[in-house]
Amino acid sequence: MNLDFSDEQKQLREQVRRFLSENCTSETVRSILEGPESYDKKLYQGLAELGVLGAAIPEEYGGVGLTHLELCVVAEELGRVLAPVPVSSSIYLTAEFLMLAGSEKQKETWLPKLAAGEAIGAFAFAEGQGRMAPSKIKATVTGGKLSGTKSPVADGDVADVLVVAAKNEKGEVSLYLVEAAAKGVSRETLESIDPTRSQARLTFDGAPAELLGADGDGWHIATQVLDRAAVLMAFEQVGGADRSLEIARDYALERMAFGRPIGSFQAVKHILADMYVSATLARSNCYYGAWALNSGAAEFPVAAATARVSATTAFQHCAKNNIQVHGGMGFTWAFDCHLYYRRSNAQAVALGSLSSWESQLIERMSAGNAEQAA
């Protein structure tokens, strides 16, 4: 039994944490929150040079050729510091789409650029309000030309290549690669609750679209990739939950009221204990998800949804209570609490919202249970 990261993976964690402590401070995050840029280009380039963007991409496609476990370690560290970079869109989603379903030529074209941070990818699925579902897709591809509107698309305003879910001529959901610079693509940045990660609306008007994966197999492929991305994002969420707890704990030790540190009051202490409980449950569930992702276990779909539900719940719980422990100071722009609160609520609805993952978890457990009984 070894439900833990290896010594080498723990060394990688230290290395990434050191790099981020120098290159991704609160000021870095705030410059994206308050400034005109959609992401921190210098930080993203630094991560590429460190080799972490290409960690799980094979060497033949310009990656480092490690496993998804290393990528999980990196994700947790990025989540701890709220790194304002498009790693989830470009690496957890686009690179995974290419590795799972891309043709040899598509992989050769895009993976080296994604690993090197020279190109950014994004996944365009949603078309307005409501839960993710194939029936929501109205965009169409006819004769290799894409038309429709996608919103919101995380990092869609800065992406070079897009994986777009659209209906083929038979009305089946398929996936297409679309170059953002192509004729017929227009885009605008949208305001959101978390400006440290950008959101965009993309409008396609006969844009050239190249099939990704088998025709009509789009929903099936997307489900598999979303499961992978869910585990990686869950690690970011666990990092954010842990960091929220640390910040709240440190404040509770330092802030005095009624002549004593507020952390000595049980009302405050118990909030912090409950934050520790939810973060610990989420971490353990994420380790389960990481194991299943890396080993390709048959129970991976259940493990992915488990990790995702638990991590979303924990990050929201820890981020909101971090503000509560800080009292009024936690509601100021100057303290970092709101940065974690923003990110936790943005990630809770990314890749399909919490309630849809809850539903999928039980649906998958039911299916597995019925199979076992049969």
Binding site: L245, R260, S264, K269, W291, V309, T313, S359, M365, S366
Partner: protein, 419 residues
Amino acid sequence: MDFKDTPEEAAFRAEVRAWIDANAPKHLEEELQRASFGSNGVVSEDPIAAGKAWQKKKAEAGWACLHWPKEYGGAARTPIERVIWGQEEGPYAALGGVFTIGHGMCGPTVMSWASEEHKRALLPPLASGETVWCQLFSEPASGSDLAGLRTRAVKADDGSGDWIINGQKIWTSGAQYSDWGLLITRTNPDVPKHKGLTMFFLDMKSPGVEVRPIKQANGQSSFNEVYFTDVRIPDSQRLGDVGQGWEVSLTTLMNERLSIGSGMSTGFPELFRFCMDAEIDGEPAVADSGVRSKLAQFAVKQSGLKYTGMRAISALSKGETPGPENSIGKLVAGATMQELSMFALDIQGESGVLWNEESPQQGRFQAMLMRSPATRIEGGSDEILRNIIGERVLGLPGDIRVDKNVPFKDIPTSGRKSH
């Protein structure tokens, strides 16, 4: 990352599995599997006798108290071997319920504090199940505030050196069939409360010991009150120095939380099976989106506890000490079981009120509902556990104690206000 045994672990597991397969009381397997929290385990025969018989068999083959030293009746096995044994013992582990307190708490305390002679006399029969121990700690006026206890131990004035005990304990599991008790008393009320305590072990058949079962809120009687009237204990049965009782009790309580918190059930697998079978408006309950949301939150608590346990086992397997993560076990399991049982009754609709032969799964969820309030209190209440996580794991300061440097006799109590 993997869930595989090392070759040594796999060999040990195979050995254990073969022995259990050949020796377990298989005629009890079905009722042990069916039993759950808040309902009776073995009912077809005397559960104490069945537990003792299984323990004796284990002891004779060298499988009792695996982690204890051999000279005290154990097998000097590694922590990971103990875990593997527990996994393989499966439903038969429930037979050991009668020994939970003796093996988990009293034994380790005796091992840390008793004389060599007493250890060699007391521990082997405890390991082999010939004797049963109970823990005489809580009192009507001191539960979470254990150090506020009032049972008095006074030196006999006959020069024998014996101690005379008067007072009352409560919530004592298994007192009615225990041979020995671990008893904490107050020997000096003139010093601050933590400093005036002394620990003894006591023959439960001593004159002046009276055990009265408590009728609990769920109708069962698994706990007792124990009254002491001029009970005489030889000074040789003292554990630690006079006035050192608090320190001794910490050994017991540390072990209590480890043994109560590990591998606790939340009731989720049972609830999930129930929701697969139950219907809402002609559809399986699991197809309902509201049900799914609730179930998913229960599911991630159950699996979070499971994999937290596996992380601890991983540390043991590498010869490391597990982190503080396991301190969340009872806190999560107790509250989850209570909410989960309420939800199971909700799915049953109006019939959820019934607790009879018509109730699904022999009334399992009604039994859980009625037993679960105690889970959130026994062995450290939810509030005490949160204090422990806050102070020992997160490093927060303790609460300010107004009774800290006050002689015990001057501390205000419910019936005695301060001046």
